[in-house]
Symmetry: C2
Subunit: 203 residues, 2 copies
């Protein structure tokens, strides 16, 4: 590459920086976000836990309520409980996927209990980030009416509190009120070629 090319790159990037800085200068508002991670791909919970660890790093008080998969995300739970229980409260309310429990009445009861706790945590002004892990599964199965969640988030969530809701098949009503919504789309999955769930990857 010639010196001319490097020079042209420099001029182009300097222009790009001016445009970008101008755009960024318009982004001044700070507010608590409703964040949704959905889709069939991997990373919905992992990315949410990534944000929880960011909060832990910045000493922003946070909380996690696991709605369904009591058996998964054990790595994150152990790490948080062992090292950062002062910065992040962790509650595992679910007992596993619905085909594991096979008891709908109990699933509904557990979901109600998890949601009541979630409301308390969100309303608590000391806590600035609440992760409702796999709540979309509970909503999808109708264990909890989505209207109730939407109403609480729009009417009662403190202005500066972030709430993350994860799980497949997020309701349209939820995406409607979200500030940030991401769909994790599956491009390729090793299960297809006979690879089992592995420590550090799946749990």
């Amino acid at each position: 590459m010639s010196t001319d090319d490097f020079e042209r790159h420099k001029v182009k990037m300097a222009k790009k920086k001016v445009v970008r800085d101008k755009i960024m200068a318009t982004k001044t508002e700070s507010k608590g976000l409703v964040i949704v991670h959905t889709g069939k791909g991997k990373g919905k919970s992992s990315a949410a836990f990534g944000m929880i660890f960011r909060c832990i790093a910045h000493e922003i008080p946070s909380a996690v309520v696991q709605f369904i998969k009591g058996g998964m995300s054990t790595g994150e739970r152990d790490l948080i409980q062992e090292h950062f229980s002062d910065r992040c409260k962790f509650f595992t309310m679910g007992e596993g996927f619905t085909w594991e429990t096979q008891d709908k009445e109990r699933d509904i009861l557990m979901t109600r209990r998890a949601w009541d706790l979630s409301k308390q945590l969100i309303a608590n002004p000391e806590i600035k980030m609440v992760l409702l892990d796999e709540i979309n599964i509970s909503l999808r199965y109708g264990y909890l009416p989505v209207e109730e969640v939407v109403e609480f988030l729009t009417e009662h969530k403190p202005e500066d509190t972030h709430v993350i809701l994860t799980g497949r098949n997020a309701s349209e009503q939820l995406i409607e009120i979200a500030d940030l919504a991401t769909e994790m789309e599956l491009l390729k999955h090793p299960f297809r070629s006979g690879v089992k769930a592995q420590k550090g990857i799946e749990f």
Copy 2:
């Protein structure tokens, strides 16, 4: 809901469990995966860091090389360096996005240095998970030939080592050789409504 409904649910879920258990029983292989997180949505790096924290939790030795955004993911970096430097080696090689540095020659040099280090970490039999954060950006700009990365991962990666490659615009050649690839798709983003990057969310 009637007792009949609950009974029907139980029978249906019991059947689902049998099918699922049968499928899971065929997944017996354990191997180091090549994982790609791409797309325009959020969560590519967060989900990768989520996996790094899972490894830390399970005491699986890991390493992170940040190719580009020296200024971002600072939360995760500080937390890892402060608490878990024995379990996860952390290297920030990039100096920021290319429109910040405005120096292509230097960007290429830094990328080469980051890739040489990455190869050493991947080849090291003690380390079982290596995150190449934002490497897709470097590949996209042509600072590093994708063929070189593909060749190294297919020919020289130890069988039981996982490698995660993140960043927008992942090359087709990379997705081709990946075991697990996820596209984070943007459904909604708060930047659009004037909200700035916030601690715990973006960095």
